[in-house]
């Protein structure tokens, strides 16, 4: 196995003071140095909560029930905000979905990048500013010296996301968590931002955790994929393996429901749908949480949660895995 830089073990997060209402139901995974791990799932599956937990940014309404998060072997003090301030940006950077919301409208963007550097490193102002300009250049922003003095509202969505990426990488973190970094952007800009992230990864060796619901992005940018459903890890596999041989019926359903002009998915309707909806987090169902929507589900599925099965690097949690490959 490669070298895991980030390890999450049996992470359980519940609504504060309600240990029965679980948002994450015991999630374990790792991120290797320099790789891109995609975390995929639909709203409410727990993918954003996982990233907030790693950053120590859990909202007040929830709390960690159990589990550990290890960065380079040592446990992250995710409930200790002061200690986490040293970790954020310096060791783990984060890019959020809405770049406009991640920046302060009252300060020039360069100042905001500067603030990150000064929080973590004692540098003379001129050297820190030179680093800001260098970062803005690295993320391909035009005229960085002038642009650094622009306020966020003057910049386009794509430019703002580049600034946020510059902030996230300002202190050379080992891991970058990108939570839906391109969801608010047009497809051509999305491609530019993803290419920028991949290039920065190649040049700096930063590991990227890409949180997304866009399977197309995953297919072309991730090394490995973890699929989440209703607070559980449903499946994890190297990207190619996951797309060609999904074992969890939810993964298969998600792939088949995704519009894809290159395959003839039309039959009856236009797209193959997954019937039903995601269960409420307050629903204490004992078995697999996908069972009510699953064509393969049996009594066993409804009674007992499936333990994860591993075939090499490919793991899934299902009593009746899909066996036929996708054509």
């Amino acid at each position: 196995m490669a070298n895991p830089i980030l390890q999450v073990e049996n992470l359980q997060i519940c609504v504060r003071k309600k240990p029965g209402v679980l948002i994450l139901r015991g999630v374990s995974f790792h991120v290797n140095a320099g790789e891109t791990l995609a975390i995929v799932g639909e709203s409410g599956c727990g993918k954003s909560m996982t990233s907030l937990a790693i950053m120590g940014l859990l909202p007040d309404a929830v709390e960690k029930l159990s589990g550990t998060i290890r960065f380079k072997g040592r446990e992250l003090p995710i409930t200790d905000n002061r200690a986490m301030r040293k970790v954020r940006a310096a060791e783990i950077g984060m890019v959020f979905q809405e770049p406009m919301a991640a920046l302060d409208p009252l300060y020039p963007v360069g100042k905001q990048v500067l603030e990150v550097i000064e929080e973590h490193e004692k540098l003379p102002r001129e050297m820190a500013w030179a680093r800001v300009i260098d970062l803005l250049t690295k993320v391909d922003l035009p005229n960085p010296e002038t642009l650094a003095w622009s306020y966020p509202h003057k910049l386009s969505g794509g430019q703002l996301q580049r600034v946020v990426i510059a902030m996230a990488l300002a202190c050379n973190p080992d891991v970058l968590i990108a939570d839906e970094p391109t969801t608010a952007l047009d497809v051509t800009v999305q491609a530019q931002i993803m290419r920028l992230l991949k290039r920065l990864q190649r040049d700096t060796g930063v590991a990227i955790v890409l949180i997304t619901h866009n399977l197309g992005l995953v297919a072309h940018t991730a090394d490995r994929v973890m699929v989440m459903y209703a607070g559980n890890k449903a499946e994890e596999a190297p990207t190619r393996d996951l797309f060609l041989n999904p074992r969890h019926p939810y993964t298969r359903g998600l792939l088949d429901a995704t519009p894809n002009p290159e395959r003839a998915s039309a039959q009856g309707g236009v797209l193959r749908e997954i019937p039903g909806t995601v269960p409420s987090i307050a629903d204490p169902m004992p078995g697999c949480r996908f069972a009510p929507r699953c064509a393969n589900a049996s009594e066993l599925c409804r009674a007992r949660f499936p333990e994860p099965t591993f075939e090499g690097a490919h793991g899934y949690a299902c009593h009746h895995p899909v066996t036929d490959a996708r054509v």
Binding site: E42, R195, K198, H220, P259, P261, E262, L271
Partner: protein, 270 residues
């Protein structure tokens, strides 16, 4: 060929914002045949929503023709516009902000019938319930409020509310872009069935060319207020003619690992 259901000719829309005038629709001509799904695809800010609002009579055009079934609808006065409205209905993007949170679902679906005084009072509720059933909502949920429904279910409410008027043309403005993939497929399939069963025509506005390729008959590509390319969906996808369409297709990551990574994503050439 028979007359198109909707014909737009050299339509311009502009409005003043402070001291400047912006011009989001710049001479658009297009037609939509009866029973057809025409997808209007473009990036944010290209003017596609303004075009939809103009067709719906929510925004006045500065010049040009909008013909519905052979009749000019661009310059209708308030009275005539109200009488015309049942013919074209709209499903909006955000199922959270487009439903009044203080009204019960059956009231929401009935409301258009009340406004236009269609049918007897007693039968309106019955029609609302029929519509709920038609879009896959249990009728005994009619007394509930919108917040008790998920995003996909709310979009079903929006569709029921539009279709209760028995329109010929439904304008769908990004109806699934706020929804998850599995729910998106449910709504697209529902729209497809409704079109087949009720003989509807769709103007389907989207930024997602991959989605409309599987769903639309024809695609019109919109760029900076103009239509730059139209054609059968399959043809636009496989043989794009305009530079903008090509650039967009090159940037779309197809969810298929056996396909080469699109050029816009590759860093090996740098």
């Amino acid at each position: 060929m028979t007359n198109p259901l909707l014909r737009i000719d050299d339509l311009h829309v502009s409005f003043r914002v402070g001291k400047t005038t912006i011009h989001p629709v710049r001479g658009i001509s297009l037609h939509l045949n009866r029973g057809e799904t025409l997808a209007l695809v473009g990036e944010s800010g290209c003017g596609k929503t303004t075009l939809a609002r103009t067709i719906l009579g929510l925004q006045a055009p500065s010049s040009g023709v909008i013909e519905y079934d052979g009749n000019d609808i661009a310059g209708l006065d308030r009275f005539r516009l109200k009488r015309f409205r049942p013919h074209i209905q709209c499903v909006f993007q955000d199922p959270f902000s487009s439903l009044n949170p203080r009204k019960r679902v059956e009231q929401l679906i009935r409301e258009p019938l009340d406004i236009h005084q269609i049918g007897e009072k007693s039968t309106r509720l019955k029609r609302a319930h029929e519509m709920m059933e038609r879009v896959g909502l249990p009728t005994d949920w009619g007394r509930r409020f919108p917040h008790e429904f998920s995003g996909g279910q709310r979009q079903r409410i929006g569709i029921a509310r539009a279709l209760v008027m028995k329109p010929d043309l439904l304008i769908c403005d990004e109806p699934v872009s706020a929804l998850d993939v599995s729910i998106q497929a449910q709504i697209i399939n529902l729209l497809w069935e409704l079109k087949r069963d009720m003989g509807l025509s769709y103007l389907f506005i989207s930024h997602d060319l991959m989605l409309v390729e599987t769903f639309a008959d024809r695609v019109a590509m919109m760029y900076k207020g103009e239509i730059v390319e139209t054609g059968p969906a399959r043809q636009v996808w496989s043989n794009p003619q305009h530079e903008f369409t090509r650039r967009m297709i090159d940037a779309i990551p197809v969810p298929d690992v056996t396909r080469p990574t699109p050029p816009a994503f590759r860093i090996d050439a740098e």
